[in-house]
Amino acid sequence: MIVFNQVQKSYQVGGRAIPALLPTDMTIETGEVFGIVGHSGAGKSTLVRLINLLEPPTGGDILIDDENITGYSAAELRAFRRKVGMIFQHFNLLSSKTVADNIAFPMKLAGIYSKAEIRERVQELLARVSLTDQADKYPSQLSGGQKQRVGIARALACRPTILLCDEATSALDPQTTQSVLRLLGDLNKELGLTIVLITHEMDVVRRVCDRVAVMDGGRVVEMGAVSDVFLHPQHPTTRDFVFESESVDSQERQQDLQKASGRILRLTFRGESTYQPLLGSVARASGVDFSILSGRIDHIKDTPYGQLTLSLVGGDLEVAMEALEAADVHVEVVR
């Protein structure tokens, strides 16, 4: 469990303190995939680097499994960092070492593993990330996705309990992103690894995260289960991110809504209700006519969800809304 207790960070620039992270309280549970979204400069990079103290905080306490890491000596800190893997946007592999040597590197640095142990672990990790036949290649000979898989294998070498991902998929194409995210999800399940993932893409959060914190201007503006934050965003920054991920231009959306007549409802289906043929029966029972303005069916991690924006004309609106709510559909009146 990672606990932030009034943690803050500011940088000294020309004698003035520029805050990067305002005092923040946060708890990341063991074994969860925790996402941190924000635009660049929102403080998310700082936040993730506080967890392994690549950036020391200027105030507050960071507790990992009930131990205050801010008081660690240099040697204690180095030992602790071996238990926290990290992967990066630009992979940060050593270009002078082969794939196998890159993966072995953290174990060699630790100085507590025998040569045989290292060799065996490297083989195991190469197999896990499906790169066994690339072992003797150099990073420059690999594709972006392969490089990130080497990065993941390297991060896992010393069997960490926490994995920090710094924009790990931002330099990858959509297909490779998907395969890397799937790998991270599998590792989370198989190894019970706690994953902290920062990204500027809500889509990444939607696919793998359990909970999410949205950051803006050095503070966490919204935090909660991904399904709640994603389907019912409260803060304007969060709404922007959600719209962005649906490739919806919020201005265009406003214009569309103005053209529609009648009441406008936004329905959110979650879990099994997503697949139920509900609209037709509700329309018949209440006598309303509806037209679909926009809609989407997708998954949040493993849970299916659907979101529909409808305009409703005539009939008994009250009956319709009651029937929808009775079927476990979240109804939001837009207009």
Binding site: R81, F88, N92, S96, L109, S140
Partner: protein, 221 residues
């Protein structure tokens, strides 16, 4: 041929070539041994680096700059008392080596500093995140990553030392430069001058070629 090169004493040319080789080789060795740690320290103590130490950096940088700003021909003369103290003579091959190192080491140190700065900061950060200490970061990540740049730096330093070694002939340093000055310049034996210059050109070409090959071999980018 014999008439054209009537003044050329080939055995002497051979000895002089060997002397140049020894002067360049030895001074390169000591320049690298002294310049590499200084270059690493310059890098580490620099702004926003692992061991940021503004005072140490300023002092080190000042010494390097002073040595680099003295024209080599002056440095040769300034160094004479020190060279005599160190090895007993300021003449010949041995006497030329201390001033060559004093000229070559700070030059190489700057080249090392520059090539270390070229290493992606992300690699340092990743190595730090693995729990490496500064020594491990330097030897495990920084130097291997900067190796092609450092080899290129050694090549440039070696070539600079060839011309410095030739200059040391002015104060009795020995080697091809000494020959060129004593025979080619003072006795107007143009043929000796041409041969020594040709040999120096070949020497530099060979050094550059070897350097380029090594850089290529160690580049994995």
């Amino acid at each position: 041929m014999d008439i054209l090169l009537s003044n050329v004493d080939w055995p002497e040319i051979g000895v002089a070539s060997w002397d140049t080789l020894v002067m360049v080789g030895m001074s390169l060795l000591f320049s690298v041994l002294a310049g590499l740690p200084v270059g690493v320290l310059l890098f580490l103590t620099g702004k926003r680096q692992l061991l940021e130490q503004p005072v140490a950096y300023a002092v080190l940088s000042f010494v390097v700059n002073v040595l680099r700003s003295i024209p080599f021909i002056i440095l040769l003369i300034v160094m004479i008392p020190f060279t005599v103290m160190l090895i007993g003579t300021s003449l010949g091959v041995a006497g030329a080596i201390p001033p060559l190192v004093a000229g070559g080491a700070p030059f190489f140190a700057r080249l090392v500093e520059t090539s270390l700065r070229e290493v992606d900061r992300g690699i340092i950060e990743a190595t730090q995140a693995m729990g490496a200490n500064v020594r491990q970061i330097v030897f495990g990540a920084l130097l291997p990553e900067a190796l092609p740049g450092i080899i290129a730096g050694i090549t440039v330093t070696a070539i600079t030392l060839v011309s410095y070694a030739a200059m040391s002939g002015v104060i009795g340093g020995g080697g091809l430069g000494d020959l060129a000055i004593r025979f080619g310049y003072q006795r107007f034996q143009t043929d000796v001058m041409v041969i020594t210059v040709a040999l120096l050109v070949i020497f530099v070409q060979v050094l550059q070629m070897i350097g380029d090959r090594l850089v290529l071999y160690f580049s994995r980018k």
